[in-house]
Symmetry: C2
Subunit: 221 residues, 2 copies
């Protein structure tokens, strides 16, 4: 492991934090992790490092904060570019990668939340929306092994972290990604074989239990 | 002007299109512009080039589409990097630039829309939100001439385009950016002295008239 002064403000169930941990693992970078108590109280360091959003993840590189998960992964790749590049080298490929990362950021978490927060007819709409989003991602994947082609890269990291909540969405939504989007599901299983991913993504049952608790907090059921 | 095969799918009043035109001017790149009839019907080329969002701007570089305005400006800088760089060269500076561009993308257009679409108490909240956002941007600007320091760059392009609608927001909101956020206003005036900006931003009265029409379309007044 390379010796850098890297510190991550982390929260175990956040798919956004998972992205950063996968990217750091892909680069072989050692780091200190500080678990935030988001339900209790955020650390002074978090509030100071991310005054605009006050959210995890924050990566401190020699004390300098980088925030917003897709941005952090992009930074890690640009700063540590010689070790296992995650983004394409050409400007056009990079623009496509940023586009799909942004699409994932805008759509998946919100669509997933609509599933676990709704019931009845609303839930049916939420499920349809969610599956439509995955089908668009399947279109972007095409017949490639990974979003960028033959190698696991930037968009894969942005997307695979989100799948850590899919088991919970499936249980509350009564559907199976494997059935609705088989190519996306194959891609998920391919990514999960990577050590960097397998070591970071938590047990789906634990995520499900966390979402059960979130539902209780929001007065659902 | 450098000879490239660049074509822009454009709409005159879109601040997002303005960004691309300013960036192309800063790089000294010639291009063909195709004005879209967004209220009448979108061109086949637009629908084909941006199937996910079906929105302008689209930049076609030798026929290859790049979409989403911040992403396009980033692409232009990466592809034509030797001509007048817009982004900082260091990874940390680039991450800060992406962060603020994303903040502007997430906040300003929506906050401005809340002003021209609301009345009474709602309008007061919308105005307060809008000014809060500008104050955060003032904080990012600090005592610098431009967001990146001494030179007009990426974040300036992303932000200055949005100011083309401020006169309309001021008229519907009954406030003055000059009074609320004097430093931001000074920065605006500094940017407007640049040829690339002055040539692209439309007459504020014309934008105001367009927003009057939008309000009518939405049944306001």
């Amino acid at each position: 492991m390379a010796k850098e002064d890297l510190r991550l403000l982390d929260f175990w169930v956040s798919p956004f934090c998972m992205r950063v941990k996968i990217a750091l693992a892909e680069k072989g970078l050692a780091y200190d992790s500080q678990e935030e108590d988001l339900l209790g109280g955020k650390s002074e360091l978090l509030l100071k490092s991310n005054p605009i959003y006050q959210k995890v993840p924050v990566l401190l590189d020699s004390g300098k904060p980088i925030v917003e998960s897709s941005n952090i992964v992009y930074y890690i790749d640009e700063k540590y570019v010689t070790q296992n590049p995650l983004l394409p080298s050409c400007a056009y490929g990079r623009s496509r990668a940023r586009f799909w990362a942004d699409f994932i950021d805008k759509k998946i978490y919100e669509a997933g939340m609509a599933i676990w927060r709704s019931k009845g007819e609303e839930l049916e709409i939420a499920k349809k929306d969610f599956i439509d989003i995955l089908k668009k991602l399947e279109g972007a994947l095409g017949d490639k092994d990974y979003f960028g082609g033959d190698n696991f890269g930037y968009v894969d990291i942005i997307a695979i972290s989100m799948t850590s909540w899919f088991y919970a969405y499936e249980k509350f939504g009564g559907f199976k990604v494997e059935k609705e989007c088989p190519k996306f599901d194959e891609w998920t299983k391919r990514c999960l074989k990577r050590e960097s991913v397998a070591n970071v993504l938590p047990n789906p049952e634990k995520v499900y239990e966390f979402v059960v608790m979130l539902r209780k907090m929001h007065g659902i059921e």
